[in-house]
Each structure stands twice: as C-alpha cells, then as structure tokens.
Symmetry: C2
C-alpha cells in the first residue's frame, strides 16, 4: 500500500506543483489503484510514473472546485482509449460530478469501452467489501467538501502449518476452513477450533485523505488513529484569519488535527504557489513539526509507503 | 505575427507531444493572442512560454473531440484567477462548446472576473473588424470540424513625409486624413488626394488553421494563397485507407492541399504517438516535402514567424 502524490499545488497549476491528485496504490492488496481528486493534467502526471490508468478502479472526488476535477474527462477517456480493462470504474463525489463528466463525454462524443458509475457522497459508509471500508464525512469549505477515511480490514493470522501437521488430517479443503477460523470436525468425530491454529491477526491500516477545509473537528473523527493523514495546508502559520476567510487551513491547524487524532504520520498538500523556495517549504514543515513531529510537506511524485502493522 | 504550437499530438497526451493547441500571437498587430483549440493542459504548456493568459482575446475551437477542448475550463478559470484583464473573451466553435464550458464553470463554482461570449460556428465570415477577417468552413471529420482562414487586411502605405513637406500645410489632424487616403482641402482652396502621398500598401497575411479532417477540397478553398497553412497529418503516406476510416489525413494528403492551394508554407501537426523517433518524424517530413517542398512537422513549443509582405 503506497500513496503517490500526483499534484500538490493549490488553485492553479504551477511549474513545480500540479493541481490536486493523489493515487492510493493497492497493488498488493487488490491489484488496483484508487485516485483521490483529479485536477487538470493528472493523466499527464501519470505519464511520468509507473501507474497504469487501466488499474484505476475508483476515483474519490473531495469537492467540485476546478483544480480537483478538471482532469476527470481526459483521464476517463484516455483510460478507455488505452484499453486493457473492461472493469467498472466508480466515481464517488458530491452531487455534480456525474453531470460534469457525462456532459464532457457526451459533448466530446467520447465512448467508453468500460462501464462507469457514480456514487453521490453522503456522510457515512460509502463503500465496503471484505477488504476495505471507506467512510466519508463533510468538512468545512464553503461548498460541499468531503474527507475520506479508508479502513483496511484486519487480516486473519497465518495458518500455523507445523501445529496443523500434528493433527490426523491431510492438506485439502479442510485447511481453508481452518484458515477461516471455522470449527471443523475431524475424521474421528472430534471438533477443533480453527482459531487455535492461526497466528495473531494483522491489524488493517487506516488512511485518511481530506478535501480542502478549514480547521474542523470532523477531520479529527475521520483521522482518528490513522496510519497516514493527508491534510491540506494552503497557508502558513499565522495566516489563520486568511485561511478562515478562504475556507482553508494553515500548517499548524493541520498539524493540530494530526495530534488530536493521534495519527502516525501527517502529509501536507495543497501548498499555495506563494511558497516556492526550498526555504519557504522548510519553514512550512517546521511550523507543522512544532505541533506534530511526524509531519512532512508533500511534493509532486513523492511516494509514501504505508507499512503493514505487526499484529 | 507568430504562431506557437502548444500541443502537436493526436488523441491523447504523450511525453513528447501534448494534445492540440496553437497560439496565434498578434502582439504587434493588436496586443492580443488568439488560441486555436485548447486540449487538456494547454494552460500547463503556457507556463513554459512567454504567453500571458490575460492577452488571450479569442479562442477558436475546430471541433469538440476531447483532445481539442478539455483544457478550456482550466484555462478560462485561471485567466480569471490571474486577473489583469476585464476584456471580453470570445469562444468560437461548433454547437456544444458553450454547454461544455458553462457546465464546467457552473459545477466547479468558478466565477469569472471578465465577460465570456460564445459564437456558434457556421460556414462563412465568423468575425471581421478593421484589421482581420476570419472565415470558417466545415471540413470532413465525421463530427462537425471547422477550418479557419485568418485574413489580415491590407495595411495602407506609409505617409510620404518628404513629399508632404512640400505642401503649404503644417503637421496636425490634416496629416491623419491624408494618411487615411482622403481628399483634403488646403488653405488656398485647392484639393489634394491623400492617396498621392502614400507609399505602396502592404498586403495582409493569410493564416489557415484547419481542424482534424480527411482530405477535402474545402481545405484548398480555406488555404488558397495562404502565407501559412497548418494541417493535420495523423498518418504516414500509404495509410490513406486507415486515414479515411478514422476521418484523418496522411502527410502526402496534407501536402497536396498545400500544393493545390499554392500556400507559402505548410506546418503539419496532430502527429500520432505511433511516430516517436527522430527518424520516424524525419520520414513523415520527407513524405510531405516530396509533394510540397516547404513542409515541416511541428513540435511542441516551436514558434514560427509569419513575415510581413513587402507590398
């Protein structure tokens, strides 16, 4: 599980930072990629990475500002043009995403080789299967802006093969039942509990990716105990009043959310182009670190590994 | 008058060539820039040039395929964000451009600081003022695709100052009348003809920029005697059947249009990403040159000067 930043700037593209997009790479877990936001030229950024558009399974849009959605029609069309996958792509986002994409595709006469479906965002569980659960919650950005909490389900412990070999059974379908932790009857009529033949379960990871927002307690709820929190930091510390006026956050506000939520790591993105030099970026990072030490300012194309939990 | 290619690829962005956009820079003539097509990331390309978005006065869209329009919402919004000009921007194009742009702006809550107006393309004179005339004509691309003939009006000859000085008049408003070629009464009641005090007029230039198209005689009409013709060449010579199937042209077909129209220079664009190496591009150029010698394959960021005519 890795996160790749495809765009870390605010409002408009700049030479150093493109507008927002984040790829959550679940290649090991489910052979797919989930995209969070899709600013203009996200598909261009992808050309410079190893990401294959056909692997994109889900696209989560935090809010409808242009710097977060204008890359959707191009990416969606090119994914079709490139071929290779007929799997459905699901786009989650506030009301309006579907109209924007469908109007763009219709007017440009773009016909997709795969199915696309849209899920309108509301507070609560947005998606759940046996591997993952995604919880959405509205933030504070003037227009509807959502944060997403991606929860990986706990992985069952590994089968204790050596211990199993002591039982009078042969490898076969019964092993799968034991692996699932089920109760199983042996040939001699006795029962064993699968759970007794499994190592400790592996705690799933939590990644929280927030849309543009002011400082809000909703962010703390979404980020509680996350392995990684991605929060915007459009302004420097001290500009809290400006941040509030424009419905954005400062470095220190974002770091305070990370601290209150007790996350493992904070990555700051949506950096205004007013901060350009290495010194300016270092200063933003120092501000965040002064509140929450494990903070980092993201840059386009940085890749962050989210290591598996031990147990 | 210069042309800058902002994107010279076909269908999808590639590392070497972005999707279509061409900037006709009329800085000397009217302090403005006219854009022809606006594929995704045109505003990103502009970041690497000296073009100022606030100078963009008109945007001509040839047709509605995504690789020619998906950059419009971003460019139009950023032009507003950057400020500096409240002048109206006019977007010309086939029916559908307005809906695409307005839907995008509306859904993303983008409010412009300038006025934007849309003119639906039809065959004939699309725009005319004292300096320029733009003629549109439908080409052959399956969906409505237009070619644009930009005609600069002839410039009046320079005022023959030395000859004027022989007359019993003083410099003043009367000079302007003479410069306009008007008949003027002198203090002694005699008349002079302004035309007699002007050098030879300067022939205006003609630039023809065509949308995606099959080989069609409409292109010859639009390009007749042009100083510069910009024509697509999606396929290599020999692939005429393929080109026809996909409503595109080959290098030799484009060069044949240039030859029949008796243009001064041909620039080929919309180059498929199947042609990547220098050798492959040289080969495309040789094919075109074998039919029309003054042919060149465009590349992203090349700038072509269109010199003034002598008289």
């Amino acid at each position: 599980m890795k996160v790749m930043f495809l765009g870390t700037g605010a409002g408009m593209p700049a030479k150093a930072r493109n507008v927002t997009s984040i790829a959550l790479q679940l290649l090991e877990e489910r052979q797919t990629i989930w995209l969070f936001d899709c600013g203009e030229a996200t598909q261009h950024q992808i050309l410079h990475t190893s990401i294959k558009p056909r692997k994109i399974e889900k696209i989560f849009i935090t809010h409808l500002h242009g710097d977060h959605i204008y890359g959707l029609p191009g990416l969606i069309s090119s994914r079709s043009f490139l071929g290779g996958s007929n799997d459905t792509v699901t786009v989650y986002g506030p009301k309006g995403v579907e109209e924007f994409v469908q109007t763009s595709l219709l007017i440009s006469k773009s016909h997709l080789t795969y199915n696309i479906q849209f899920v309108e965002c509301t507070d609560g569980v947005l998606f759940e299967d046996e591997q993952f659960k995604v919880i959405a919650k509205k933030l504070d950005h003037g227009i509807d802006s959502y944060g997403y909490r991606v929860v990986e389900k706990d992985l069952p412990g590994a089968l204790l093969i050596e211990k199993l070999k002591e039982l009078p059974i042969r490898p076969g379908p019964i092993y799968q039942k034991i692996k699932n932790g089920e109760q199983v009857m042996l040939d001699d009529g006795t029962y064993i509990n699968g759970q007794d033949f499994l190592g400790p379960s592996q705690k799933g990871r939590i990644i929280t990716i927030l849309g543009d927002t002011r400082y809000t307690t909703s962010s703390v709820e979404l980020a509680k105990n996350a392995d990684l929190l991605i929060h915007e930091a459009t302004f420097a510390a001290g500009d809290e009043s400006l941040a509030s006026d424009y419905y954005h956050s400062t470095t220190k506000q974002a770091a305070t959310i990370a601290k209150l939520a007790d996350v493992k790591k904070l990555l700051l993105t949506h950096i205004s182009s007013r901060y350009q030099t290495e010194d300016e970026i270092k200063q933003l990072e120092r501000e965040a670190k002064s509140v929450f030490f494990n903070s980092e300012i993201a840059a386009d194309f940085i890749e962050v590994d989210i290591p598996k939990n031990r147990h």
